[in-house]
Amino acid sequence: MIPGLADRAIQSSRGFRVLMQAMARPGTIQRLNLTQPPALGPAAGSVLLLLADPTTPLHLAGDLPGLAPWLQFHAGSPLTGPEGASLAVGRWPDLPLDLLPVGLPDYPDRSATVIVELDRLDADGPRLTGPGIRNHASLSLPAIAPFRANRALFPMGLDFIFTCGDRLACLPRSTVVGDA
């Protein structure tokens, strides 16, 4: 079994500050390397161990060999279909975005957080504006239309954490995605 977080309380506190900065400043690329999970990069594995526990139903999208038992051991999250997920993880083409919960009009926080493993994550691409962004940012998003549709649901919607190797960047539902 591949280890999870060494010195859990300390590592997860440092890791969360990185993740919080990423979510608060959409489009900025941060580094996070607390563990090396099966099937995914260190950043995706670190985010999973920071957020997942027995109270967060998890949807694994696509073929992620060895990830389920590793998460079962370290986080203990119940696996679920996309409809019941509070966390979803996978590669971009495998994620069933239309099926994941986007929250309720009176409880928009009851939506899924989606961890998307990408082959490339750079500060170029569509122009991002919104809360957390001083003027504008750019991020190599895997698509544009789904994120515009997601923004149109605000205050409901999905929140995305993109990962690539040990790097991550976030795109919360509040971010407006402009042209490339």
């Binding site: 440092r14 500050r17 979510m23 400043r25 526990d53 926080d109 001083r134 205050p155």
Partner: protein, 290 residues
């Protein structure tokens, strides 16, 4: 210190709070419910802020705690000691040196930076609560963006007093969507909420709510075209440091009507005094100002 988990709370609780913080940052101004824990201090002493601080703190942080601007009051001292004992973090009274600041009812006068996190203690997070006591109704009002009642309240202020008399916990609208209670900060501090480079987190322990303002978020104080918002303060200079642009506390100094005005932000005031600025009572007011 080693008898506690780092920063007191257990890891499962911190994960729950951290997930709520991320959702709060994704929906600026929306109050995210969370499973607030019993803390070793009474409700009303900042248990919401303490839980946010515990979930955010890292061993490298330098913590500052203020209570109405002061670093040396009971609430601030006890929370600072709490995290020194349970997390072993460094502490400071200097706003510039702090990486995480927990505050009760003030925003420091020194402008915050990108590298800082400001955690507010919030007593009543729902801005509509004193207008509509039912949670089911206020939740529906937020859902429908039905904020007319809040404008009626401000209008009644004008009808009764000739001006908007609300002077603290002045309601704001976040990014044109949610009306939010900025916690009982004086309305003098409201302009500092908007476009702030630091992350601002709000925690209400008894009411079990977390909300947030990401950096550079647009925050507008509610007002009317013919009665615009004014960030007011006592019409004096600080009697210790002479500052004309900081928020002041009025201190009664004797039983014959004597009074003085001093900066509520003690770090800001001391910094100015050390830099050689002097107010009306500088040098002769040590007893009264202590």
């Amino acid at each position: 210190m080693s008898d506690y988990n780092f920063a007191y709370l257990d890891e499962q609780t911190k994960r729950m709070i951290r997930r709520a913080i991320l959702k709060a940052l994704a929906i600026p101004g929306y109050q995210v419910p969370f499973a607030s824990r019993e803390m070793p201090m009474p409700y009303g002493w900042g248990t919401g802020g303490v839980q946010l601080t515990a979930a955010c703190l890292t061993p490298e942080d330098r913590l500052k705690v203020i209570d109405q601007g002061a670093d040396d009051t009971t609430n601030a001292v006890s929370i600072r000691k709490f995290f020194q004992r349970t997390a072993g973090v460094a502490v400071t009274e200097a706003t510039r040196e702090a990486t995480l600041i927990q505050t009760r009812h003030r925003i420091p006068e020194t402008p915050l930076t990108e590298d800082q996190v400001l955690v507010y203690q919030v007593p009543i997070p729902e801005p509509l609560r004193f207008l509509e006591p039912r949670e089911t109704e206020t939740r529906k009002m937020h859902e429908l963006e039905e904020y007319g009642l809040m404008h009626v309240k401000l209008y009644e202020d004008i009808a009764r007093h000739g001006q908007i008399a609300t002077s603290y916990a002045y309601p704001v609208k976040v990014e044109g969507r949610y009306v939010m209670d900025p916690s009982p900060i004086p309305k003098f501090d409201n302009p500092k909420l908007s476009g702030c480079p630091a992350i601002q987190l709000f925690g209400a322990g008894r009411e079990q709510r977390i909300y947030a303002l990401p950096p550079h978020t647009q925050v507008v104080s509610l007002d009317f075209d013919d009665h615009p918002f004014v960030a007011s303060k006592p019409d004096h200079d600080c009697d210790l440091c002479g500052a004309s642009d900081s928020y002041l506390d009025e201190v009664i100094t004797d039983d014959r009507g004597g009074r003085m005005f001093v900066c509520s932000d003690t770090d800001f005031c001391m910094g100015r005094v050390r830099a050689g600025h002097a107010g009306r009572l500088a040098g002769q007011s040590k007893g009264a100002a202590a």
